[in-house]
Symmetry: C2
Subunit: 380 residues, 2 copies
């Protein structure tokens, strides 16, 4: 691998996206979910970038998942109209939702309580509008959702159905991030599937419709052995991959498409420190590998050409300063020769969603070494 000459002229830090790796990641997930016989609904919260989502759609993705109404706005404006907003809806967002839906956006909502469902139903009656609402199911005790065997599930389903708003059930098996090893991930994927399907079956047994049965996370999507009873799988971070996913065994370090290009600004030779111009503002404060067997600090260091330097991580970070050190704490005598002031490194992210969010654009490196700019957005 030879560094692209285009990188030398960039003002650092920048979010560097390897286009070939991005496309491999998209293909890999689409193939895996396709083999299960269900649709893939990519979660676009990781990249928040229309050209990335367009590639996911071209590869066979069906609809998108969003984490904010800002994402719904931006992607609807770019031609995506089948959108699942996967955070429990609250009253202060319903006018915004209504505006999108009246303009033709097929925006689906989620609730996990009678109170939230009632608020949606009330707003729908007041505005003479039928929302599309999924009931969020708790399959792992990690976050939101009603338990698949909870009596409240039927109450919520009936309340929504009587308003013509019941669209199905969904869950996010976020507990997959705590699984270790192939067998645990396979078992967890089955837990996510079976508990969500159980909820769908209970609704149907109560005479309620449940057209959509939606589950997913990147680990469960890739380790699922069955999608029986599901209509779709959602996944997000796979599009870039990251060190947390690599630590779980979901990808390899070489599968990570996103890195932060940074420049060496100085050294503290006695301590073995290389100072770079990517601090936590560029890398994010995410320390997602801290609880994994291999703690990657604020990120794993690569040479400018992308070659992983396994011995080196960003071990500390201030706002605009990163401190690159050897894992073993050694201070090589040739530190300043090995990492000259002005030379460039790449840093692989712990958590791609968090690191990408620190940037307003991606610098996309293609297989010819050319760099183009893809915009991304942030906020709510």
């Amino acid at each position: 691998m030879t560094p692209s000459p285009a990188l030398a002229t960039l003002e650092t830090p920048v979010a560097l996206l390897d286009l070939q790796q991005l496309e491999r990641n998209i293909h890999h997930m689409q193939t895996a979910v396709g083999a299960l016989g269900v649709r893939l609904r990519p979660h676009v919260k990781t990249a928040k970038c229309v050209p990335v989502a367009a590639r996911q759609r071209e590869a066979g993705g069906h609809g998108i998942t969003v984490s904010t109404l800002k994402e719904a706005d931006e992607f609807f404006a770019a031609g995506f109209d089948d959108i699942l907003y996967a955070v429990g809806i609250v009253p202060n967002k319903l006018n915004h939702v209504l505006d999108l839906r009246r303009r033709g956006c097929g925006l689906k909502l989620i609730v996990d309580s009678h109170a939230a469902a009632q608020a949606v139903v009330d707003a729908g009656r007041a505005q003479d509008h039928r929302f599309d609402v999924l009931v969020e199911i708790d399959v792992d005790g990690q976050r939101a959702g009603v338990l698949p065997d909870a009596p409240e599930l039927i109450d919520i389903g009936r309340l929504l159905h009587e308003a013509g708003a019941l669209a199905g059930v969904m869950t996010h098996g976020g507990g997959s991030y705590a699984m270790r090893g192939h067998d645990a991930l396979v078992a967890f994927a089955e837990q996510e599937r079976s508990r969500c399907v159980q909820a769908a079956d209970r609704l149907r047994a109560a005479g309620l419709p449940c057209p959509i049965v939606s589950v997913g996370s990147t680990p469960t999507a890739l380790f699922a052995r069955s999608a029986a009873g599901l209509t779709e799988i959602r996944a997000g971070v796979y599009v870039f991959n990251d060190l947390v996913m690599a630590g779980l065994g979901v990808c390899r370090n070489d599968d990570i498409a996103l890195s932060v290009l940074t420049t060496v600004i100085g050294h503290q030779p006695a301590k073995g420190w290389v100072l770079v111009d990517a601090g936590w503002m560029a890398l994010s404060r995410d320390r997602g590998t801290q609880g994994q067997p291999v703690d990657q600090g604020y990120g794993l260091v690569c040479a400018e050409d992308g070659r992983v330097m396994d011995d080196w991580t960003v071990s500390a970070a201030n706002q605009e300063h990163g401190i690159v050190t050897r894992r073993d704490g050694a201070a090589p005598a040739d530190l300043a020769q090995q990492f000259p002031v002005g030379s460039r490194l790449r840093v692989l992210p712990n958590h791609a969603c968090a690191t990408a969010a620190q940037f307003g654009q991606y610098h996309v490196l293609d297989s010819h070494g050319a760099v183009s700019i893809w915009p991304r957005f942030s906020g709510w």
Copy 2:
């Protein structure tokens, strides 16, 4: 305190700025540094907001400090022309710096190595331009800088002086963030001052000019007992304050001007969890109080009117979900009544610089309960 009716209509999460508290914080720091007889050069990296910096200037601030050239661009466009860029300069940024300086921006640079100084001198010669460069001094072993007694200091100073580019010395006593208690902070402020002045004295003894002697951090600025030998003090986070500063004893929780307004989206009653729509994307991943005596999780919870609820923190966070729990882990029976779906809370930030950076604007709440929008920017 009554919640402002204006808050009820906002789509959450938003970055809420208490205007009166902001102005008190600006006045407090300006008074403290003024009493030491030196200039205050606010670091604008915390707010990245022209209306905030304008108030710091009106209060008596003299010039600004920036952490990125994007900040230099934005603030120069807004009429600030005395700017110190407080991150070691690297060659890929010098064309940008040159452009700003040729357009009239008095942008000062820093270096802490002969190699970096040489790069600036070479670029200056090639472009027939004299940069203004300060040598960064290491006063606490925390980050960058040459030691005040290092032989290299004189070499760097001479190299810069021969190119007409030596503007002085500067340091940032970031080690102050690890101090505990009044006496330790006072002593550390004196260490920061004395070591930076020592470096200035050495340059002068070698026949080199040192017109600027610049130090600072919010804790040292507020705990310094002397500014002898200094020409200016820099500080940034004081403008908002945060839980890390409160944990150090630098401010009280009530002095924090920035919070994240969030809405309750649901509950897990058996666990005592209140789910809110401020996750780490809104709060940031900064866990700066983790190492302090009181760990505030992802932030300390306040009622909608700003009243601190000392027993409640955001104890866990996903991208767009925060989990609010009691510190003691208890699950109150009236959880859903105490925190109804759709009701609002505020969350005080661990680290204001990190939390503010997650937003594109501030919602500024004035003493009459009215809300206005102040833009902020991000990126490089």
